[in-house]
């Protein structure tokens, strides 16, 4: 069967044998976007977090059939080297990653949080950012999340001034 979805702004149509194939496999293996990671396969660790229609989902536990006609954003679509997303910029500035494997999932979860809660408190972070990092970079991530919130607000203010 064919599934059509928009990934990072581009319409993609994929031929899939099993509609219950995890979206993660389609993103990584069919569309060759390797930034989103497989961690536990049980929607527990959050390494596979990406956005579907703006909502953070655990793509290892998200059948691709549910993505039909929807907009998917992966870490590659969040920003790039030339124009990083405020979350990516903050992650660079705070030198957050150690091994880095889980970090795309954390960044996607953070981007989703900032879209809902532009200036999150520590409590907001504790409730919403519940991914797992085995290197224990939580302390630096917390600083980066606060920095990302400030960067995003600055960016939005600058954009509104330009208009």
């Amino acid at each position: 069967m064919k599934i059509s979805l928009t990934v990072n702004g581009e319409l993609k149509t994929v031929e899939i044998a099993d509609e219950n194939t995890p979206l993660l496999w389609v993103i990584r293996d069919t569309l060759d976007l390797k930034g989103t990671k497989f961690g536990c396969g049980k929607a527990a660790c959050g390494a596979c977090t990406l956005h579907v229609d703006g909502e953070a989902v655990r793509s290892c536990s998200y059948p691709v059939k549910f993505a039909e006609g929807k907009k998917v954003t992966t870490i590659e679509g969040l920003g790039d080297r030339e124009n990083p997303h405020p979350v990516q910029q903050a992650w660079i500035e705070e030198i957050v990653p150690q091994c880095g494997y889980c970090q795309p999932g954390f960044m996607m979860a953070t981007a989703a949080l900032l879209n809902k809660v532009p200036k999150p408190t520590d409590e907001d972070i504790d409730k919403n950012i519940i991914n797992v990092c085995r290197c224990g970079t939580y302390y630096r991530m917390r600083k980066a999340i606060h920095k990302a919130a400030n960067l995003q607000l600055e960016k939005e203010n600058n954009q509104s001034k330009e208009l």
Binding site: A56, Y62, A112, K116, N128
Partner: protein
Amino acid sequence: MKIKSIYIVLILSITGLLFALANTTKTATYELVDDQAQNANDDYNKMMDVLTHQRCMNCHPSDNIPKQGDDSHPHYFGMARGKNDHGFEATNCNTCHQSENNLNSGVPGAPHWALAPASMAWEGLTREEIAERLLDKNINGNRSHDELVKHMTEDDLVLWAWQPGVHANGEQRTVPPVSKEDFKKAVENWFANGAVIPSK
């Protein structure tokens, strides 16, 4: 004269006896009433056997923390009711739970997956207290008996209890001790008979 009096007394006694017998409730009538009461109790008990099972109770917490598993442990990762019974702003029920069970990851799912409202907290309550809450229109979403029957016998999330999917290790989740069909009949009968809480 004596014989005549004896006859009169005898006739009156027999008449009285016949009258008394005619107005005495038959044993069979008592048995019928008992049967009805017993059937109503059976319906109530079947319904409550389901409502108090972990598949239902885990999402009717009294501490705003969803529960998981047959041991009803607190939901991992600090998940809680949040606003709208649906978790937190960016990490909510649908971050992991979709509209159907995921047999690959073991994550359960059903349409409108969410906690029951706080007013429908059942955890720690007796069966009678649960029944009282269920029937109280001030806290049950203003549902009438007919609406409660519809909710309890047709709602996909309620009926998920009999198709709960598998755990992450691939083992089937347990289901309530009463079949779905028997539960539906019990609910319909209990409400049809006036939704009487037996101990009241």
